[in-house]
Symmetry: C2
């Protein structure tokens, strides 16, 4: 490509509403252009990256035996009513009426449509397994779209759906997709981690997020550097930090802690380690009748160590919490604890509550907790002696860095990540709701076992930049750079020699199948170099009159601190070496 046949538009400053570095750099590099909140034009420079990502995804999906099709953006509501999602999904689902007042939705995902295809097309066990995917425009009406392509409303997603005859076969399809995803992210040239994730109501252990590692990521990734354990923070198991409960050594004492309503403040006041305090969290679960009216509420006290945080996903898995839970109201708290939040604890309750202790809390001795009286805490608290054993002991906290790995093979560390892919075992959730059955060997109808597998194609651009940038701009991995090599002639308009040499090099590289751009815009060197460093092309060759006179050109990798002088005759070979996979 010659720059004169392309469209390059860079900005010195990012617009004020760009909050994160990837958004700023994509705007400045002319990759995207805002059309509305969370809606972007993909400009020529950005579209080249998208196409490269799509091609890698497509090649590996095909290699894994998945079959590409294309499902519509505008989908009839009927199918979404069959699964109940038309009503259940919130305003994220963009609903629209056609000229005949019929309901449609703009697809945020395609489980319903692909299951509709499967129930018509996959009738026999002989046709299974099958995996259909498409790469298509999606729309999710986010309440607060932001971060450019990281949380847009309109975006491109690859979504695949596998259909299998039983759980075991579904497991193989899942593993197959997991392996394909690893190949995809390897080829994209990104540092990533596949982390176990929560499966919610589906159950089982077949849910993994593919997270691109970046300090600016929204997600916390838990991993063990000395084993292959990795999970997201919702799922990562927190073991008891105390192997067993020590004996009591202190007496129970009600201690004044005026105005100290947090564990940290109390620990500081009492000059005790924060790890000796216990945090009280009051939750409630409701029972409802057929009409959804609450008939009974139960109040729960959840206890985690003062330096730990409650994990709400784990809490949601407690016996009795399956139907959902909420934080208790102040009247409920006063009714059961006799005081307002800030000084709550498990001793001296006004009305009984169910007590759930985190695994670590259950093994603590001589601990500190609220005294259910404003400005007072108990110290020297011991289970059994000062209060009954907890009703339940469970893992209800977030892990923290330094926790033992649940596989016993080391100590956990935490990284930040950006979720760009997800593989998920769906079971028969959709096939049962939509009666997507196949006939087994005995001619008996069975619901298909499904899995779904998403990759946020446009989001990958943002994630790649969050991971790979410096103060000068983007640093694309070779595989997804808008151009792999840029040839920068200095003074092409003045010097016939520069023009000839640059054009020759450009054509040679092109003939080798290298994705090269010749910058024939005639920009001054400073502006030209700044553009390509901002845009993030990984390999640059500069030709100048002076250099050519001594038979050299300059090569600089985007991450190199300095340029390397090369003999003109060597440059193609040098580049071929650099571009080797």
């Amino acid at each position: 490509m010659k720059a004169s046949n392309f469209f390059i538009s860079t900005l010195k400053e990012a617009p004020a509403d760009a909050e994160v570095v990837s958004h700023k750099l994509m705007m400045r590099a002319g990759m995207i252009k805002r059309l509305g909140a969370g809606i972007y034009n993909y400009m020529p420079m950005g579209l080249r990256v998208i196409r490269k990502v799509e091609n890698i995804v497509r090649e590996e999906m095909n290699r894994a035996g998945a079959v590409e099709l294309l499902m519509p953006v505008v989908q009839p509501a009927e199918l979404w009513q069959e699964t109940g999602r038309f009503d259940k999904m919130g305003p994220e689902l963009l609903r629209v009426k056609d000229r005949h007042d019929r309901d449609f939705i703009i697809q945020p995902t395609s489980e319903e449509v692909v299951t509709d295809i499967a129930r018509q097309e996959l009738r026999s066990y002989k046709q299974l397994p099958k995996n259909f995917y498409h790469i298509q425009t999606k729309f999710r009406d986010e309440r607060r779209p932001r971060f450019g392509v990281m949380r847009g409303r309109e975006f491109t997603m690859k979504d695949a759906y596998s259909f299998d005859r039983d759980k075991e076969a579904a497991g193989r399809s899942y593993e197959n997709m997991y392996a394909a995803y690893c190949k995809i992210f390897d080829r994209l040239g990104l540092q990533y981690r596949a982390v176990a994730a929560d499966t919610g109501a589906i159950g089982g252990d077949r849910s993994h997020e593919f997270q691109v590692i970046a300090d600016t990521g929204e997600d916390a990734i838990i991993y063990c550097p000395t084993s292959d354990y990795a999970a997201n923070i919702e799922l990562a198991e927190a073991v008891a930090l105390l192997a067993s409960r020590a004996g009591a050594t202190a007496a129970l004492a009600k201690t004044p802690t005026p105005g100290k309503a947090t564990c940290a403040d109390v620990a500081e006041l009492l000059q005790l380690p924060l790890a000796q305090t216990v945090k009280s969290l009051v939750l409630a679960t409701d029972e409802t009748d057929d009409k959804g009216i609450i008939t009974k509420s139960t109040v729960w006290l959840l206890l985690v160590r003062g330096d730990h945080d409650l994990n709400e996903v784990k809490a949601g898995k407690l016996e009795g919490f399956k139907g959902g839970f909420r934080f208790a109201t102040v009247p409920e708290i006063i009714e059961h604890f006799g005081t307002k939040p800030g000084y709550l604890g498990p001793i001296g309750l006004k009305k009984p509550v169910k007590i759930v202790a985190d695994r670590t809390v259950a093994n603590m001795a001589d601990f500190v907790c609220g005294a259910n009286e404003v400005d007072f805490h108990y110290t020297g608290v011991n289970w059994g002696r000062d209060l009954p054993e907890p009703d339940f002991v469970a893992d209800i906290r977030n892990v923290v860095a330094g926790d033992p790995s649940p596989d016993g093979k080391g100590v956990l560390a935490i990284q930040r990540g950006i979720e760009v892919g997800h593989v998920f075992y769906l079971g028969t959730k959709y096939s049962a709701a939509m009666k997507a059955n196949f006939l087994d060997e005995a001619g008996k109808p069975q619901p298909m076992e499904m899995g779904c597998y998403g990759i946020g194609v446009t989001r990958i651009l943002g994630a790649a930049i969050e991971q790979n940038h410096d103060e000068r701009g983007i640093v694309w991995p070779d595989a997804i750079a808008p151009f792999t090599v840029v040839v920068c002639p200095i003074g092409m308009d003045r010097s016939e020699e520069v023009k000839t040499a640059a054009t020759k090099l450009y054509e040679e590289l092109l003939a080798l199948g290298i994705d090269v751009l010749l910058d024939d815009r005639g920009e001054r060197p400073g502006a030209m170099f700044a553009d390509w460093e901002l845009i993030g092309v990984p390999h640059r060759v500069v030709l100048s009159d002076r250099g050519l006179k001594e038979g050299t050109v300059e090569y600089q990798g985007r991450r190199d601190a300095e340029a390397t002088k090369l003999a003109v005759a060597d440059v193609v070979g040098h580049l071929k070496g650099k571009l080797k996979p």
Copy 2:
């Protein structure tokens, strides 16, 4: 590709709602699957064709210097309000509100968005000309979607938009796109014609439709087999069929024509040629005040020869018709003609009307027309003698086959066609409305001259099939066939020799970059051949035990009546010869 890794699903019968052959065959061949009215899933077999079409379009657009980007499907209404199209467009434009009750549209086309990009990005004459295009999902809420992908609601379109500094440069952009379109349709392997089309209010002569020739096409294409004249029927100029007016030879006579209210019936009754009768069409134009209330209506009588039809597009160009016209109401007709429709004519009017004669009618003598009295016509009518000369003489009729070509180089013929592309000069219609100005050499802002260039990507599938099919199924041109070659082994499961030979051939062809499918499904020969003839793969090689024993395989082109026996060693060479461009 191996069939076992793909998805093949053919039907013996087309669904009842498939009206045209392309729709039937696409459904039977498993290329598309209906999701809703005018909304289709593109199944794997169909998607392969779409991708091939897209690639050819993309390559030629890039070669012509156009730059690809991607504009969103969901677009903010604000831009469409700037041009007035948000209100002016009918229910074809799908409107939607987001969670904040803001108006959006699902794009039917992208003039507004691309003009918004241009007004921000193209600031100087130095940046012009520029041509941006995208290949993207479109939605038009057709009142009556039908014919499968031919008139769907959701479809894929390539739309390009050129921006130029002046009319002359815009003309060059137009010619450039015209030439690119010719290359595209040449490469697609379709018989087509570029026909001049009406430019409406924009004026000028820069509008061409690219029509795929097919007997089943909805459009009439007018062309001259002995010159390069071609136009659609709206535009094709109808010359006067009588060079000059003959002298009167018959007397004016009021003749009873009881119950004969059409020219054809009158001609039959009076035993005169239909070409001696004149048809009366009564139209009306309205003048309105600021509020759109009609303040004055004018009634017009348009006269065409009895065997000719009124061309409403041409009528719309008459002086006084620019603001629109309608057919007159029965009360208006009675008021001016003193009688109801059926026996109307230009003689003996009750109240004056403006009379427009078609060019041919203006030169007729001794003609027949209605007498403005039920059951009576006048015969022997002559201009000047029996009624005043017409107020206007104009081309207001459709041409018919056999008319002289307007370029004087032969006689017109009519073909049917399917419009699959359109190149159109827009002038400053959008740039002026949206203030898309650039600064010229003098630093003065000027509106950009625009052109728009569409290709109906998915519609091309339907058009190609309407043009290329037989009683067995589709006959794809090589360039866009889902697979170029299919290798059909007979009894692959029984015969190791067949399996080895078929796999070897498949791999050899694959290595040559040929898009080949190995049918390893194990279908019986009859079913297998029927599938590939229905699907329309252009080249087939059949391997059987018997053939291989004598060292032969069978080749059959999709259009060949019979198979050709080839030595095993010759088949690759034979295919290479067949596939030569």
